[in-house]
């Protein structure tokens, strides 16, 4: 592996190097608050895990005490920025050569940790035991490697979306990420350490090592070092990626002159690894030998995996351990080998965080009292390096960046709420939230990356403007800009860095980065102002709707929701208009809407349906604050309630753009209830319920929703799901299949997307669907 400035390139993997300095704001973040440690020391890499609390600012809204009737302002509610403490898991991976430097650093920055022990696993844990105990003053508590590994694997498969992927070298996208499947068991895990272990995992705590092989990463490294005189593992991999194995290997065509057709063995297949080097009078290049060795070992492990998978009748094999490291040649060879030996019956799956499994497991072992498995966790895109971040070939940019040694990080935030599937998904295992996978669609990727880059100035401006009285806002906003721009650049080169690249992941990454620099809710004041204005029009809007005939009213209600949805700071086309003309009115929005027939138009079917019996319960995923929620959604909800349908309003748990949050919605609903007896009685009788979605994204992942929401949806026998807005109904869930009736409503506020869908700016999507075989 190429080293960065200041590091002697002759450094072997076990030589300590103290001359480097660490950038504390990048590595070992939140170390001051670290509570618990675990370490996994392999043959070449050290993985350190710690659990820490993070203090960050959150925007809270609170209703004014109206009984006091203070002149208190014309403000609708109070926005307070509070400090909140949340839990975060940090994982850092670096080469063993830097272990002493890192331990010193940790010691110096560790303020007060309650713990006296450090959980340790991995083959090297023994070797560094004394060093760790001396440096940190913590007692090293060894944990079984395999147990840690399995624990870690179960954890990432359950908690990290797009953790596992299939590798296909010649496909449009080399990486095909798997959605989190609620049923991960049983599966086969092949852990390639210095040797290889084959483990069948039956359940959370039950697994069995069913076999293994002495051929593994150590064989590649050991034999490779002997053959090429190259010492470092990553250098060997680099050599291999430049070599031609056919000069060293005896291929089928070397023996047959062509293919061995009757057995279906093609001419390029390796008949005998190193078969051509059986001679004393020829020199072979290091690159070719390394490539041949990599092929030999990857093929062999792939074959062994197949034999075990077949014996135990398993169709998915996950590969973990230090050998793969996201190296394309290795993944390709293993995949090829598995396909070859099983004719496609067994699938080879790789893991984005394969290197961390042991450390995660060791940490979990030590944190059982914190019940980490009771919570849902989410990857913090702002603090995690992507896949292959330290691979010298893949990401030259990142390496040039820090001027220190290469390290890789993973951060996971403990979510306040436990997340589960929406029980109304037709097939949870095949549900994919995102409509377009930008990893595969290069054209769309190009556009959206450009789009987010373009919008960055505006976001920075908004962020600064949102904190006029808080010091350092401009500076932090600038840091945010750098960080997010860097993420966008990384994604341009490696769209697969954080799993499938989607509009949702781009939006979420931006939210994570904003939070990182303490901009918890840049839109809070705008939202408040718009909510305030919209509330003033509520009664008038309701009155004018009531004056309409039933049929006209149904249409007006739908148009209202759609027009309200035009008010969206998340879409560039709209935010410009809003910025320049804050008085942009509801009526103006209605005029801008596309005339029927809409781009997607099933309004007639919806109207027909409304003539029938009322729904039992509608679950409504709402979108924006202001006009959208108050003048668009609420009247629509009011109509449903009047029909006798119970309504559950699901809104974000935490801020994202100008989306209405659950706490804001609570206040707004109370205000509306004070003006509107229909809403008031529905609230009182519990026919109108507000729940939080568990999300803080402008998009919607129906497989990760608040447990309470899922419970309420089930208990109320929800038979209608309404999803509103571009982020939730077009970027995500456009193709989502539900087991009950569903309504997806959105206005396309992006001309590129409109173009793609065959429409134009402000085209309307009104998609009413009834599941097949389910007449209402």
């Amino acid at each position: 592996m190429a080293e960065c400035g200041g590091v002697d390139s002759n450094t072997t993997s076990h030589t300590m190097d103290k001359s480097i300095t660490l950038p504390p704001d990048e590595i070992f973040r939140n170390l001051e608050n670290a509570k618990r440690f675990a370490i996994d020391i392999g043959g070449s890499l050290t993985k350190l895990a710690y659990y820490s609390t993070v203090q960050h600012k959150v925007a809270k809204v609170r209703s004014f005490d109206h009984s006091a009737k203070e002149a208190a302002s014309d403000k609708l509610y109070e926005i307070a920025v509070q400090e909140e403490v949340t839990a975060r898991l940090h994982f850092i991976k670096f080469e063993n050569a830097y272990i002493e430097t890192c331990l010193d650093f940790i010691k110096d920055h560790l303020v007060n940790t309650e713990t006296k022990v450090i959980k340790a696993t991995g083959g090297g844990a023994h070797k560094f035991k004394e060093l760790i105990e001396k440096k940190l003053g913590l007692k090293v508590d060894k944990e079984d490697e395999m147990t840690c590994l399995i624990k870690g694997c179960n954890f990432v498969l359950k908690n990290i979306p797009h953790e596992a992927f299939v590798y296909a070298r010649h496909a449009d996208s080399e990486f095909r990420f798997q959605t989190t499947n609620p049923d991960i068991f049983p599966y086969l895990l092949v852990n390639i350490g210095s040797g290889s272990s084959v483990v069948v995992v039956q359940s959370e705590d039950k697994f069995e090592r069913i076999g293994g092989s002495s051929i593994g990463g150590g064989t590649f490294w050991g034999l490779g070092a002997l053959l090429t005189k190259t010492k470092r593992f990553d250098e060997l991999l680099q050599l291999a990626s430049k070599g031609q194995h056919s000069s060293v290997d005896m291929l089928v065509k070397d023996i047959y002159g062509g293919s061995y057709a009757c057995l279906g063995l093609t001419g390029d297949l390796i008949a005998s690894s190193f078969g051509k080097s059986a001679t004393a009078d020829k020199e072979f290049s290091k690159e070719d030998m390394a490539k041949s060795l990599l092929h030999m070992i990857s093929n062999d492990i792939g074959q062994l995996a197949c034999l075990y998978a077949k014996l135990h009748n398993l169709s998915r094999v996950y590969f973990g351990g230090f050998f793969i490291r996201g190296h394309p040649v290795t993944m390709h060879t293993i995949t090829y080998s598995i396909n070859f030996f099983t004719k496609g019956e067994v699938q080879a799956l790789f893991l984005r965080h394969e290197g961390y499994l042991g450390a995660i497991g060791a940490f979990l072992k030590g944190a059982e009292e914190d019940n980490p498995n009771q919570y849902s966790w989410g990857e913090n895109y702002a603090g995690s390096s992507g896949l292959m971040s330290v691979s010298p070939d893949m990401n030259p940019m990142q390496r040039a960046r820090s001027g220190t040694f290469p390290f890789d990080m993973l951060e996971m935030d403990r979510l306040e709420r436990q997340l589960v599937n929406l029980p109304l998904l037709q097939d949870p295992s095949s549900y994919i939230p995102d409509t377009v996978d930008l990893t595969e669609d290069a054209q769309a990727r190009e556009y959206w990356l450009y789009c987010f880059e373009e919008a960055l100035d505006g976001v920075v401006k908004r962020a600064v403007a949102s904190q006029p009285d808080i010091p350092g806002a401009a500076e932090r906003a600038e840091k945010f800009r750098q960080k997010y721009r860097h993420k966008l650049q990384t994604l341009r080169h490696q769209p697969f860095a954080y799993g499938s690249l989607t509009v949702r992941s781009l939006l979420d990454t931006r939210e994570h980065c904003l939070n990182e620099f303490n901009f918890p809710d840049p839109y809070s004041k705008i939202k408040e102002r718009e909510n305030d204005v919209a509330l003033k029009y509520y009664q008038k809007a309701v009155k004018s709707l009531e004056a309409l005939s039933w049929e006209d009213r149904q249409f007006a209600l739908v148009r209202g929701v759609l027009a309200g949805n035009v008010f969206d700071w998340g879409a560039k086309a709209v935010s410009e208009v809003l910025e320049s003309n804050p008085e942009f009115g509801f009526e103006e929005a209605k005029r801008r809407l596309e005339e029927r027939p809409w781009l997607v138009d099933s309004f007639d079917q919806w109207l027909e349906r409304l003539k029938g019996p009322p729904h039992r319960c509608a679950l409504f995923f709402v979108d924006n604050s202001g006009v959208d929620i108050i003048l668009g959604v609420m009247p629509f909800v009011r109509e449903l309630l009047s029909r006798g349908t119970e309504v559950v309003l699901a809104s974000n748990s935490a801020p994202a753009l100008n989306d209405v949050t659950n706490s804001e919605l609570q206040i707004l609903t109370e205000r509306i209830a004070a003006m509107d007896p229909v809403i008031e009685s529905a609230l009182r009788e519990d026919r109108l319920t507000l729940v939080q979605s568990g999300s803080s994204s402008p998009c919607l992942d129906l497989s990760r929703l608040d447990k309470v929401l899922a419970m309420v949806a089930r208990e109320r026998q929800t038979d209608l799901v309404i999803i509103e807005g571009m982020g939730r109904a077009i970027h995500t869930n456009y193709y989502a299949m539900l087991s009950c009736e569903s309504l997806k409503m959105a206005v396309i506020k992006n001309s590129w997307l409109a173009d793609r869908l065959g429409g134009k700016l402000f085209s309307v999507v009104f998609k009413y669907e009834v599941p097949v075989g389910k007449p209402h």
């Binding site: 210095s194 051929i215 064989t219 050991g222 070092a225 002997l226 023996i255 004393a280 062999d300």
Partner: protein, 433 residues
């Protein structure tokens, strides 16, 4: 070791009178109608082979005459051109009558004399005298079967010899198998004016194994195993009567490895294969130690110590990894110690050769064991030239099969290790299937 049909007849009858369990085999070997009574295809195959051996028996004279009409003209060769070695079997008729002798063309005579009077050809060709089968009856002719090998890269010299000896004037069909039969087909034609009759290597292999085993019964058995494989002090080579051999897993270790599941003479499938074979052992040894021949590599391996190169379970866990039933002596990582610079500097070439041998052998053993489990077969026959003079690997395989299967699997070996493909090719010449 040499024996002829008559001796075998007597021997078998005597022996089998005392050993009733072998009676069915005796019946199978009866020529003519007796043999066909048996439904089992394998038995029929054995019967046919045995009947050929006995055609000098007067009662079979009638049949002999008819055979004579269909049998091909001499010389009789079977050839297997592999990635590393060419294996050649040659049938030397010993029952040549004076009349025949006179008729025999000079070319034919010269080839016969050249092959049978030498044990080495050029610098690399070798006749494995110890494997020679004497007084064998094939197609009504009695003679000796010779086993000859030379490196594939010397094939041009062989073709040159064929050209010099005007082999093509003999109008014989040359049956050849192995990949080289395809690769060098045009060379045979252009350099020696010989047309190859190309045969599938696995067909030939299976046929050859079953044939040789059947003609070898009675004498020192073709098939053997290692008794007490897990106890080095009491480990001994023992003959194994391969009666009713099906189903069996046939592992052919040449440059690469093929694994076949054989259910009867005509019913087999290739289960899998691996590119880590004899070629890998030699190729890696040449790179690691600078040696250049298989014999050199084996010699070095016999003097080395692989535990200095490999990382054992006990090197990692201090002893057994009991939780998973891994003994401390098991190899955890082949060449794993070579990750360390100091250890790389302290090992000898012999150690490296030994580790290479152990790595390749164990890997073949472990793939074989998984195949046996998947195919539900308990008997494994290892063949191929990787095992030639390679007792180390055979004992390792025997050990590995026994230990990891807890005694369920038996590793069997055949004396004619690498020649079965060539024998199969010869049989094809005599009895086109």
């Amino acid at each position: 070791m040499a024996f002829n049909g008559h001796q075998v007849d007597d021997g078998i009858v005597d022996e089998e009178d005392e050993t009733p369990s072998k009676l069915p085999r005796c019946n199978k070997e009866m020529p003519g109608p007796f043999g066909s009574d048996h439904q089992n295809e394998g038995a029929a195959a054995a019967g046919r082979a045995a009947s050929e051996r006995r055609t000098s028996n007067p009662s079979a004279r009638h049949r002999k005459d008819s055979v004579k009409k269909t049998r091909p003209p001499f010389p009789w060769f079977g050839m297997d051109i592999g990635g590393t070695l060419v294996k050649l079997v040659y049938f030397e008729p010993k029952d040549i009558t004076a009349e025949e002798e006179q008729e025999e063309v000079e070319n034919l005579k010269s080839i016969r004399r050249y092959l049978t009077s030498n044990t080495a050809y050029g610098t690399t060709g070798i006749r494995d005298v110890h494997l020679e089968l004497q007084d064998l009856t094939l197609c009504g002719r009695t003679g000796n079967l010779h086993f000859i090998r030379f490196p594939t890269h010397d094939l041009p010299a062989f073709l040159q010899m064929g050209r010099d000896k005007h082999f093509s004037s003999l109008h014989t069909a040359l049956c050849a198998t192995g990949g080289g039969a395809y690769k060098f087909e045009s060379d045979f034609l252009t350099m020696a004016d010989l047309e190859l009759h190309k045969l599938d290597e696995l067909d030939c292999l299976v046929r050859g194994v079953l044939y040789i085993d059947s003609v070898m019964s009675g004498g020192p058995l073709e098939c053997y195993y290692f008794e007490n494989p897990t106890d080095p002090d009491h480990c001994a080579q023992k003959p194994y009567p391969l009666e009713n051999p099906y189903p069996l897993l046939l592992v052919n270790i040449g440059s690469g490895v093929s694994i076949l599941a054989v259910y009867s003479e005509n019913n087999y499938k290739r289960v899998t294969g691996t590119s880590l074979g004899g070629g890998t052992f030699l190729g890696l040894c040449c790179l690691l130690t600078g040696c250049s021949t298989f014999e050199e590599a084996l010699e070095m391996a016999s003097q080395g110590e692989s535990t200095r190169v490999d990382k054992l379970v006990r090197d990692i866990y201090g002893g057994d990894y009991e939780r998973f039933g891994l003994p401390g002596w098991a190899v955890a990582s082949s060449f794993g110690n070579m990750m360390s610079k100091e250890k790389r500097e302290s090992v000898s070439k012999e150690d490296l050769a030994r580790a290479t041998l152990v790595t390749i052998t164990n890997n073949i053993g472990s793939i074989t064991r998984m195949c046996a489990l998947n195919e539900n077969i308990e008997r494994v026959v290892f063949v191929g030239n990787f095992l030639r003079v390679n007792t180390l690997s055979m004992k390792l395989l025997a050990y590995a099969m026994d230990y990891w299967s807890k005694g369920q699997l038996k590793a069997l070996f055949l004396r004619h290790e690498g020649y079965f493909g060539a024998v199969g090719a010869l049989l094809e010449l005599l009895h086109p299937s």
